[in-house]
Symmetry: C2
């Protein structure tokens, strides 16, 4: 029985990893965090994450928890990030560590998540963003994309926007609270926030919006995609490396 | 004799290079651009850059020129970036190519340059910026830094702020037109613009400003550094990987 839990907020460059989740290959971000924390605590630990992320997806604020017995934490909690970071590879960082009651669960208690998807929209890619943005060379119609994005906001069955087989999925209903498109020069950022997300849902939304911007779909088509609940009717999955898990929300 | 010149605007991630300038090792950005363009044109070419950049420094808008005879350019100029980019490694990109008179010179005609230096000011580094920002973990006094920055703006002898030996330097006088400090969360950007820069001058300015923010120097010390013209009295050189050559200006 845990006496308490530690909530970790993590940032990582996902380029070198097969996603958050622990892998037999050891190439999950979770493996690296567990190894560093295990070394620090002198015992094997399980770090439970708020989210599985796909291979190549990044994080600015993934939340995770670790079960703790009071006696195993020999350093002040405020020093924990520095100590773990010294043991982690430089593509993973613990941003903060706070104490939570034993009942806290990083995944089950999450009330919402914010993702950001970045596109570089210029004929030539920006080399400094090549591992963090999707290169879309052709001009995009942002007005059409914003119209399409607005249709996705709200409570919908997002079955058409997931790579889970829709016919096997019991409940595809999710609530999107924000789907905003920001442009700054050639850099376009989608801010996608919701109570929960289906498998690859963010990447399918980003891909569909870009294809709307390219004229492949009309904004109204996006409403029809939702209604049709058929993955084959929605757009492509945007590549993983443009996606960042930005923030995880908890009640209170 | 060149009939005309082509002006190239280049962006690169400098992490893997020993600076812009051609190296015996072949690890200059210039070497890679010359190899790609030479392949495209079917003859050896020299690409003259606006600026030498240090090893590890990045660029968003380095300008270069290439001498051309009308008959050697068999593709439309507008297609040139795409064609060169297909031959370049993905950490270098040609953003644009325009025609210039034979008299144009990328270095001698430059009337000014803008550099940006990025700092990540948080106890934990942002892994997504680890090759593009200097990690400064301690809190910085931005008001003091801005006061110091204001002292650097204008026409001064910047001998104290270069890694050339000051006593060997004939003319250390340069004009800084902007030295602004922008903060967005943990990200601090120095925007440094001037008519010309001494060797490592931007990195010495960024390092001195950060050390001012840490309380190592008072803002007034920075004025005294300028007056003293002694490199030993100014602050440290900030690491190369935080610096980006952002833009090169030309008259007209």
């Amino acid at each position: 029985m845990a006496q308490f839990k530690i909530q970790l907020t993590l940032a990582f460059d996902g380029s070198a990893y097969h996603g958050w989740q622990s892998q037999r290959s050891g190439r999950g971000v979770q493996d690296a965090v567990q190894a560093a924390l295990g070394k620090l605590l002198g015992r094997p630990v399980t770090v439970v994450g708020s989210s599985r992320t796909d291979a190549g997806v990044h994080a600015r604020g993934l939340v995770a928890h670790v079960e703790m017995d009071a006696e195993t934490l020999s350093i002040p909690l405020g020093h924990l990030p520095l100590s773990i970071n010294a043991l982690l590879p430089d593509d993973i960082r613990v941003i903060s560590a706070i104490r939570k009651p034993a009942s806290f669960h990083a995944r089950f208690d999450a009330s919402g998540k914010q993702y950001r998807y970045r596109v570089w929209n210029h004929p030539a890619m920006n080399p400094l963003l090549r591992s963090q943005a999707w290169h879309v060379p052709r001009p995009l119609d942002l007005a059409a994309m914003r119209e399409a994005a607005a249709m996705l906001v709200g409570r919908h069955d997002f079955r058409a926007f997931t790579s889970n087989r829709g016919d096997l999925l019991e409940d595809g209903v999710r609530t999107l609270t924000r789907c905003e498109i920001r442009r700054k020069g050639a850099e376009i950022t989608f801010l996608i926030e919701g109570s929960g997300f289906l498998y690859k849902m963010c990447r399918c939304i980003a891909g569909t919006l870009v294809q709307t911007g390219e004229g492949r779909f009309a904004p109204a088509d996006v409403g029809r995609m939702l209604d049709g609940r058929d993955r084959k009717k929605a757009g492509m999955n945007a590549p993983a490396h443009g996606l960042v898990l930005w923030k995880v929300y908890y009640k209170k």
